[in-house]
């Protein structure tokens, strides 16, 4: 038992953080808000060249062959950075293709493809025959493929098969949103969860991204509390400010600890892997939402402006928490699972 990263894993973290800081600064992410695409193609290709989208894919399927524990380290950094783009859907899509028998497609996606995420809601469903109903497509407005994943199965669809997409303004301005209503589309490739638990892995990756947000916002609030002077003293001397900062730090720590355990539970094939992953999602979603909200409050008027990053974290956390479907059904599922190992 050792939940700390190895030196090789520290290397993954350091190189990811350096890449994100250099290529996808928040300023760059903001510039892309008004561009047609929220992804800089060159940067996307560079990330693919670093092996990001095939990091956890087994090497015999053309991937890098690292574990989910390595992938969560990467996704935590992505979360912290606010970088826009379908990192999650693309990573999961490479698995769907590879495990679904479309090895070439899997390699192609891993090598720099881009796949959007179609979010299911109460008025849509995915079954072996395909997908039916109204879908919300995130970052899939200009991709050829979109991913749909549930705890039972995951499938890739040709975006064109979903019918006309209606572009919508996303609550997160750094993301792209569209709505599609399909009377039935057949998948290009699909896998069931027993072949590869795609959504389960996605749950851990989303939890990691949310943890990154929880950590980044905790730091923003704490730094502001140290530096902002009112009544002649830093506002952080007041327990009404100081204690929320402490709570943010605790929530971020808990979220990271649980995300680590969730990823390792999957890597090590533990029987309670789903319980650990759903727990990570629940804890990290709460941490990200409350830390981002707490940061807006600690920052005061500045936190309410668009120019400060706090609002981008609020919005990203809101989007990520629903990227694999609404949280309530996840909670309802969590309570019915067998107990921890």
């Amino acid at each position: 038992m050792d939940l700390l990263p190895s030196p090789e894993q520290e290397e993954i973290v350091a190189s990811a953080a350096a890449f994100l800081a250099a290529e996808v600064s928040t300023q760059r992410t903001r510039e892309l808000i008004d561009e047609p695409s929220n992804v800089d193609a060159k940067v996307w290709q560079a990330a693919a060249d670093l092996g990001w989208f095939a990091l956890g894919l087994p090497s015999d399927l053309g991937g890098v062959g690292c574990g989910l524990a390595d992938e969560v380290l990467l996704f935590r950094e992505i979360g912290r950075s606010l970088a826009g783009g379908p990192f999650l859907a693309t990573t999961l899509a490479a698995r769907v293709a590879a495990f679904g028998g479309e090895a070439e497609l899997g390699t192609e996606i891993g090598a720099g493809g881009r796949v959007g995420m179609a979010v299911l809601g109460p008025e849509s469903s995915l079954d072996p025959g395909g997908v039916v109903g109204t879908l919300h497509v995130v970052d899939g407005d200009d991709t050829e493929l979109v991913l749909v994943a549930t705890h039972e199965r995951a499938a890739l669809f040709a975006r064109a098969d979903l019918g006309d997409l209606v572009a919508l303004e996303c609550i997160d301005p750094t993301a792209r949103l569209a709505r599609a209503t399909t009377t039935g589309a057949a998948p290009v490739v699909a896998v069931t969860a027993d072949v590869d638990p795609v959504a389960l892995r996605g749950t851990a990756l989303v939890a990691a991204q949310l943890t990154g947000i929880a950590e980044a916002t905790a730091v923003l609030a704490t730094e502001h509390a140290k530096n902002r002077i009112q009544f002649g003293r830093p506002i952080g001397v007041n327990q009404a400010v100081k204690h929320p900062c402490a709570d943010m730090a605790v929530r971020a720590e808990l979220a990271w600890a649980q995300t680590t355990v969730a990823a390792l539970a999957v890597d090590e094939g533990r029987t309670d892997a789903e319980l650990q992953c759903l727990s990570a999602l629940v804890v990290a979603a709460d941490a990200a939402e409350r830390n981002a909200a707490g940061t807006v409050q600690v920052l005061g008027g500045m936190g309410f402006t668009f120019d400060h990053d706090a609002n981008l974290y609020v919005k990203r956390a809101f989007l990520l928490a629903q990227l694999l479907g609404p949280l309530r059904p996840a909670l309802a599922r969590l309570v019915l699972l067998p107990g921890p190992q």
């Binding site: 038992m1 050792d2 939940l3 700390l4 990263p5 190895s6 894993q9 524990a69 704490t222 509390a225 140290k226 003293r233 830093p234 952080g236 001397v237 327990q239 100081k242 204690h243 900062c245 402490a246 709570d247 730090a249 605790v250 720590e253 808990l254 979220a255 990271w256 600890a257 649980q258 680590t260 355990v261 990823a263 390792l264 539970a265 890597d267 090590e268 533990r270 319980l275 650990q276 759903l278 727990s279 990570a280 629940v282 804890v283 309530r328 909670l331 309802a332 969590l334 309570v335 019915l336 107990g339 921890p340």
Partner: protein, 382 residues
Amino acid sequence: MELAFSAEDAAFRDEVRTWLAEHGPRERRPKGGPAMREFDLAWQREQFDAGWAGIAWPVEFGGRGLPLTQQLIWYEEYAKLGMKAIDTRFVGLSHAGPTLIARASPEQQANHLPPILRGDVVWCQGFSEPEAGSDLASLRTRGDLDGDELVVTGQKIWTSFAHLADWQELLVRTDQELPRHKGITWVICDMRSPGIEIRPIHTMDNGEDFCEVFYDEVRIPVAKVVGGLNNGWSVAMSTLSFERGTAFTIDQVQLSSTVERLIELARDRSLLGDDEIAYSLARARADVAALRSLTYLGISRNLRSSEPGPEGSMLKLQWADLHKRIVRLAVEVLGPRSLALDPEGEDTWSELFLLSYGLSIGGGTSEIQRNIIAERVLGLPR
């Protein structure tokens, strides 16, 4: 990164599990008084005789000197007995003992450590005072030097098991002139000394373990001072930071069992159709999982560095809050059955529900824990 325990640790777990299954007490623990003390000490003696006492204590003090992971495993398995996480042995084994290991003289160690492990003695703590709670450094109980003795006069409060204890880790002010953190001394007090009067405090969960202790010119040999005169603050701080990484393991594992039992009960009573109860239980399951994960993360850090990480106060804060939330949820799931206090042979959480009000107060209030996290971990100004 690895979640699985090593083969060595797994073998240790098997050994612990087998021994506890055979030797865990069968009879109900007496609810208080000398019978409870005897029960606890007999149980400690049994562990000592079988070589289970002081798992993480250094070998030279009679411990096993085993790594922190095995201490964790012991606690995890011990928790399954369903016995109280904190009993009359707690201060000796987990508080005063480790302080003596860190700061006492070889003679003091030789005199006091073996009896703790053997289950011969009960220790209690004499830190808080009526006017020195969260602000411990403002303590006033005097220890005036008179030849080779300290003459102690004053009052301590919130002392668990004082009426059953042989020894006390006692903080007294031995210099009235020095700055307040500097004039404090940590001394071993014989609880049978003349001049000590103990009065029980009746707590809201009907407990009788809490006491006030009054000292009227109690004479303590200077040889019982640990870490030097006027050096008690630093000695006390080493006590307070000890074992934070594993100290809540027993309770945390029991919390997890409670959540699992509640889910089972809610299912049996068709309460999972109530969204609010179902979501609260799911949330509790996730939070208990995360608390365990944070414990593991803290232990992982401790295995690499002896510097205590930020987990101690974080665990205490989160544990207290979560424990309160879960027992509140438990009485909700039980419905009117929770109106009865502790009926034998039935699921009951009503006493624990009442007890839980103290968890965010004892051992440093949640407000103080937040101050510690904010100031010492995050570097926010005081």
